[in-house]
């Protein structure tokens, strides 16, 4: 199974990796339990920064598409096929859209929403709840 990334694509590199690994799981090219290359190996082969691949792996692990097993390496999660269909971006878009709509209805202005949203994000980042 080959990963192909386009460095001039408008889609971020980590997102290309996430999408392609999910597609490979859905198409059955990689199966639950299969091992994945290390972050260093994949970054070296694709001539990317280790952090880019690490971010993609973190997102896939969050979505339970892959699982890290310490020194043994990274593997495809047993429920990866079901979990690969879950689109977090879609959920975020929907939930934030609903919230913004509700806030506007209650009289909040766009700038107030933006300020509070930025402050909340900052507070979460300070608590270390970021990716």
């Amino acid at each position: 199974m080959e990963i192909i990334i386009d460095i001039e694509d408008s889609e971020p590199l980590f997102a290309q990796l996430v999408t392609q690994i999910k597609q490979a799981v859905l198409s059955g090219k990689i199966l639950p339990g299969d091992s994945l290359p290390s972050i260093r190996q994949l970054a070296g082969d694709l001539r990317l920064n280790n952090k880019t691949v690490a971010k993609a792996y973190r997102l896939l692990e969050r979505d339970s598409v892959i699982e890290a097993k310490g020194y043994r390496g990274t593997f495809i999660h047993p429920q990866a096929v079901a979990n690969s269909t879950v689109d977090i971006n879609d959920i975020i878009t929907r939930k934030l859209g609903d919230t913004i709509q509700a806030l506007r209805t209650s009289g909040a202005t766009d700038s107030e929403i933006r300020i509070v949203f930025a402050e909340l994000m900052k507070a979460h980042q300070e608590q270390g709840v970021n990716l």
């Binding site: 080959e2 192909i4 190996q41 070296g44």
Partner: protein, 280 residues
């Protein structure tokens, strides 16, 4: 036939093999590659242009010719000087000198890969979604062979130590060979797990080259251990004239082994270096 005469012949064979025959074979192969894969069709193979390769090739031939003459000079001196009986140092020195063009060839290859990476204008990059493992480079048989030969050497040194063998009782050899093994294994692992050097090389070719490199490592490790064992034995039995013979035979075996593992590699897919078709 005395050890002196045998060494005489073996030393001459070392000079001819490493500074004439192997460079000639490599030169012919390089010329064949330049002809079969011309820069017009395979521009990725020549990031500095074909002229630089032809110049480098001419330098490689000239350097080997010069070293050949130096070797012949020492060989003639050895034949004229009947008073000296220990020429192992000279044969070793000549071997070191003979290695220089091959080391420079490796440096040239690394530089070429660097230039290839810089010149690579493709926006897409590919990678296999499969982890590389130690067993991709070394088979269990190879690992077992290196380990058992090294352990056997340690036991041999321990045995010979009981008879008061000089030079730290041979333990210095154990340390040097052990460190050499670690260094060679490190180079193979660096190639296996490190960054991709040649941006165009296919994963299949890359793994095959790493396996050839590992085979070369096994050969060097076993050869150096056997050579050290033979040297210690000859020293212990005071057969010094055969020691220099062992040295020059070892050098030739090493050169041939390296040639047949890496340089004689014929399976490279050169199509990856072909110019991309111009899209309308």
């Amino acid at each position: 036939m005395t050890g002196h005469t045998l060494f005489n012949l073996a030393f001459l064979s070392q000079i001819i093999l490493i500074s004439a025959l192997l460079p000639r074979t490599l030169y012919k192969r390089a010329c064949h590659l330049l002809k079969t894969y011309p820069a017009a069709e395979y521009p990725r193979l020549y990031p500095k242009g074909p002229g630089s390769y032809e110049r480098g090739l001419r330098r490689f031939v000239s350097l080997n010719a010069a070293i050949f003459l130096v070797g012949i000079f020492f060989w003639v001196t050895f034949n004229l000087d009947a008073t000296r009986d220990d020429y192992a140092g000279v044969a070793w020195g000549v071997f070191m000198l003979q290695s220089v063009p091959f080391v420079l060839l490796e440096v040239f290859t690394f530089r070429t890969w660097k230039l290839m990476r810089e010149a690579d204008a493709r926006t897409t990059r590919k990678a296999e979604l499969r982890p590389r493992r130690l067993t991709d480079a070394f088979s269990y048989l190879q690992m077992g062979l290196v380990a058992s030969v090294f352990i056997a050497f340690c036991l041999f040194v321990n045995h010979i130590n009981q008879f008061g063998y000089p030079w730290f009782g041979g333990w210095l050899n154990v340390i040097i060979i052990g460190m050499g093994n670690l260094l060679l294994a490190g180079i193979v692992l660096w190639n296996l797990f490190g960054r991709k050097r040649d941006p165009y090389m296919e994963e299949r070719d890359r793994l095959r080259r790493i396996r050839l490199m590992a085979r070369q490592f096994v050969l060097v490790s076993v050869a150096v251990t056997v050579y050290a064992t033979v040297t210690i034995t000859l020293q212990a039995y005071e057969l010094r004239e055969f020691k220099q013979l062992a040295m020059t035979l070892y050098a030739q075996l090493l050169a041939l082994g390296c040639y047949f593992t890496i340089y004689a590699d014929q399976g490279i897919n050169f199509e990856v270096y072909r110019a991309e078709p111009v899209s309308n």
